[in-house]
């Protein structure tokens, strides 16, 4: 285990000014290190802490939508312009956004793997829905408690609500 912070000895208060040996953690701490490069006039932006992930992503999505609307407008207007211009504008691709970059869901047929061992799983247990590799794994599944079965399913991403 990493050593705990207090590796110091408290100086005996007898008037002699012996400097305290800083604890290990204090040596690592840079709270009191001089940081002259910071601008003292900078006031912290109130905006900074307010956003969490969900808000940021929604904001992005909004922006993407707005941008796409604008593009569509432009393109429609450009349709009325002559041929050459149209070709130029058509090659302008959609702007990539954080949310638009995300990969789509898979279209390949899903491979079935055993929830317990990870080997191939041709069979599914009807009551819990767990996939299993062979007879002996089936015996094991039968002896699982319902919460353990739910944990296995959650590892696969299936969250049964009522079982």
């Amino acid at each position: 285990m990493p050593p705990k912070g207090s590796g110091k000895k408290k100086a005996i208060n007898d008037g002699t000014a012996t400097p305290q040996i800083p604890s290990l953690a204090e040596q690592f701490s840079y709270l009191h290190a001089p940081r002259p490069f910071k601008n003292p006039n900078y006031t912290k932006n109130v905006n900074r802490r307010a956003k969490n992930l969900k808000n940021v992503l929604t904001q992005e999505r909004e922006r993407e939508r707005v941008e796409r609307e604008r593009r569509r407008q432009e393109r429609e207007e450009a349709m009325e312009v002559d041929e050459e211009r149209r070709e130029e504008l058509n090659t302008e691709d959609d702007m990539p956004f954080y949310t638009s970059i995300e990969a789509p869901p898979s279209v390949l047929p899903p491979r079935r793997y055993c929830d317990i061992t990870g080997l191939e799983a041709p069979y599914t247990e009807p009551i819990t829905g767990l996939r299993y590799h062979d007879k002996s794994v089936y015996e094991l599944i039968k002896s699982l408690s319902s919460s353990a079965a739910k944990d296995y399913l959650a590892a696969r991403g299936v969250n049964p609500i009522l079982k």
Partner: protein
């Protein structure tokens, strides 16, 4: 059991070492570009003139020490120095998005302090990384931090993987960057595919999979916890990521690997064992003298108790003798006193009549006699037949008291007769059993194999019967099975109104169920002994009988038949674990604490990495790496496709996992035309090359052209950047 087990000890974490600050003198007033690779796991920073960056885990903690109330600010590995700080650790990144700017500010502070910067502002042009298509919020606040708090003169953003690609395909000096290739970037919380054509990153055709190193670590942790639900120690994420980095790899062909691992021997051969630290419980060993002393003490106590008991008995004896004396005098007094007075005296003693007096006296005398016999250690003589004289005397001759006596004696005689009968029966049974055993022994001695065969057949028969019963019980619990339906029919017929036939109804009109003992047998078929799971012991008397018979047969076989080993017994057969499961998760004895603190990784080693190519198996609804590459390539014409696949480039720390390059080759080869050359390469140093690429770029003239200066920042705000080949193309840009 010995043999070579592939045991790797979990490394003990080494204490963090204090980093020294660099000397700033070389860079003072030099305006050397400052390169910051702001990664979600590691922060790499340095001046572009260095060959390697400084780095540290990108996490800070603000902690107030309890003991002396000193506030601490710790970065990276320094957090390990203080145990309580870990819970306060914050990272600037939340998954893939830069959100916590307070943490970012502190991290950058640390970086600048270590670089030794002591000027009133950070007077260097900065090149920083950002996520592919980073949300504008993140960028705006980062720019604000850099320009307003640190007053940098200029700032440029880039995508880390493209810079790593640049470093590995460096153009000759002062010629533009025109390489083509497909960059696959492995980051902490995502994996992205970015096509680069003619030196320009084509960001809008790139795709990102929300699966990265951190998700893989979590998945491995979950798998380990499911496999070892009763593990003695808690497994932490740091330990799991160590296991991931050192023991896991990509399988070139996952389905065929699984087919190979189906065999328990291969499973055992492929496993890696991680030994976790454990503490042996201290066993207090009592020395010989201690044990002897304890035994002595116990004997003493026993002796003392015996003495006390003997004393008690003696006292009671005394008491009884004195009582007897009393009563005898009372009886004698009958002659002397008058009738009524004598009755009063009797009642004073608590006796109702003369007969009661007699019986009490008799009892006391017999008790005393018995005790004296015991003390004289006589043998237990056969009880003489008590005489019942009054039974034969007809009723008319006796008075009231005599009648009562007679009834009592009749009862006593009946009891005595019954006892004699029971004793005789027991003796008869014993004789029969002995005769059986003798016969059995003769059969065995004469024909051992025949006898053994017969017994073994019986053994099998009983086991089959038990299995059949277990199956029937399981069927009963399934509502739709034939057995359950038959049971319902039985219940319904019992409860039917017309159970009593017409004839009977004329006679009495009552249901005569139960008068005949055989009727109750139907309950054996109706009652399900609870929804017990198949492992509980016998639930009904039938099953108990079967178990007992089975046990008796097994004992005989075990004792006399050399070929019937304990493995054939019912107990061992029912608790047998399949070979596959024992190879998958070997069991250790109860007391083997060292063994129980081991984690065996066999299938997990490849299963976790397979999730990059198929995130659906871990619950993430996204296409896998192979499919995404296919999607990205599909948007290009054939000619460009050829240019891209000739130089497939893999970068990022998670790409250090072995087996990735062959796997990608296998995944891409089938989807491309056979004559198209396919080359997959990995960055020379997947973790640091991004920084190096940035350092290289910062020394070119182009760097200044793509940076946003302070004035430009003040005019446009933090979200706008200049569009260039290595940076993002987000909304606000100016075509260069």
């Amino acid at each position: 059991m010995g043999g070579e087990l592939n045991i790797t000890r979990l490394p003990t974490p080494s204490p963090p070492s204090l980093e020294t600050s660099d000397s700033y003198d070389i860079h003072r007033s030099q305006h050397t570009p400052l390169i910051i690779d702001n990664g979600a796991t590691t922060l790499r920073y340095g001046f572009s003139s260095s060959t390697t960056p400084r780095f540290g885990p990108n996490v800070i903690a603000k902690y107030k020490e309890r003991k002396n109330n000193k506030p601490l600010l710790l970065f990276g590995e320094g957090i390990d120095s203080e145990g309580g700080a870990k819970s306060q650790a914050k990272t600037p990144w939340e998954g893939d998005v830069l959100l916590n700017f307070d943490a970012l500010e502190n991290a950058l502070d640390y970086a600048f302090v270590k670089l030794g910067i002591d000027t009133p502002s950070v007077d260097h042009p900065v090149l920083m990384t950002e996520r592919l298509s980073s949300p504008l919020h993140s960028r705006a606040l980062t720019s604000e931090l850099m320009f307003e708090l640190y007053s940098v003169p200029s700032l440029a953003y880039c995508v880390d993987s493209v810079m790593s690609f640049y470093h590995n395909n460096l153009p000759k000096t002062s010629s533009p960057f025109t390489s083509d290739g497909l960059v696959i970037s492995f980051n902490t919380s995502s994996t992205s595919v970015i096509p680069v054509l003619d030196g320009k990153g084509i960001m809008n055709y790139s795709q990102r999979i929300p699966w990265g190193g951190s998700q893989a670590t979590e998945y491995l942790l979950k798998l380990v916890q499911l496999k070892y639900p009763n593990f003695p120690t808690r497994v932490t994420s740091t330990q799991t990521s160590w296991m991931l980095q050192n023991l896991c790899e990509f399988a070139t062909d996952y389905p065929s690997l699984l087919k190979k691992l189906k065999d328990p021997l291969n499973l055992r051969a492929s496993e890696r064992i991680v030994q976790f630290p454990f503490t042996l419980p201290v066993v207090e060993e009592k020395s010989e003298e201690d044990l002897a002393r304890i035994a002595e003490k116990r004997k003493e106590q026993g002796r003392k108790l015996q003495e006390m008991a003997a004393k008690n008995r003696l006292e009671k004896l005394m008491q009884k003798e004195s009582d007897l004396e009393n009563l005898l005098t009372l009886r004698a007094a009958r002659e002397t006193e008058g009738r009524r007075e004598w009755m009063n005296m009797l009642q004073a003693e608590g006796l109702e009549s003369e007969a009661a007096l007699e019986t009490t006296i008799k009892k006391l005398e017999s008790d005393l006699r018995r005790v004296r016999k015991k003390e004289a250690e006589d043998e237990d003589t056969m009880q003489e037949e008590p005489t019942f004289p009054l039974i034969d005397v007809p009723d008319a001759d006796l008075d009231e008291e005599g009648l009562k006596e007679k009834k009592k004696q009749k009862l006593m005689k009946a009891g005595f007769d019954a006892r004699m009968r029971a004793r005789r029966e027991k003796e008869r049974e014993r004789e029969e059993r002995e005769a059986d055993e003798r016969r059995d022994m003769e059969a065995r001695e004469s024909d051992l194999s025949g006898w053994a065969n017969k017994l073994r057949k019986d053994h099998e028969g009983i086991m089959n019967k038990m299995k059949g019963r277990a199956r029937r019980r399981n069927e009963l619990s399934d509502r739709k099975s034939a057995a359950a339906q038959a049971r319902m029919k039985n219940i319904a017929s019992l409860a039917a109104d017309d159970r009593v036939s017409k004839k009977r109804r004329k006679g009495g009109g009552e249901d005569m169920f139960g008068a005949d003992d055989a009727d109750w047998a139907i309950y054996r078929q109706i009652v399900i002994f609870g929804k017990l799971d198949s492992n509980t012991a016998a639930g009904s008397s039938d099953e108990e009988e079967d178990m007992n018979q089975l046990r008796a047969i097994e004992e005989k076989l075990l004792a006399h038949d050399p070929s019937f080993t304990p493995e054939h017994t019912h107990a061992s057969i029912s608790s047998q674990r399949s070979a596959l499961l024992s190879a998958f998760r070997p069991q250790y004895e109860e007391g083997d604490l060292e063994g129980r603190s081991r984690i065996h990784l066999n299938v997990e080693r490849w299963r976790v990495c397979e999730a990059w190519f198929s995130p659906a198996m871990a619950g993430v609804d996204s296409a896998g790496l192979g499919e995404v590459v296919q999607n990205v390539l599909a948007r290009f014409p054939e000619r460009d496709k050829g240019k891209l696949v000739k130089n497939v480039f893999v970068t990022g720390s998670p790409s250090k996992l072995p087996g990735l390059v062959p796997r990608l080759h296998e995944a891409l080869r089938p989807i491309l035309p056979p004559e198209m050359p396919l080359e997959v390469a990995r960055a020379a140093d997947p973790g640091v090359d991004a920084w190096r690429g940035m350092a290289d770029f910062a020394q070119t003239a182009e760097f200044q052209k793509v940076s946003v200066t302070q004035e430009e920042y003040e005019e446009w705000g933090g979200e706008r950047i200049k569009r260039w080949w290595g940076g993002n193309w987000n909304l606000a840009d100016i075509s260069s």
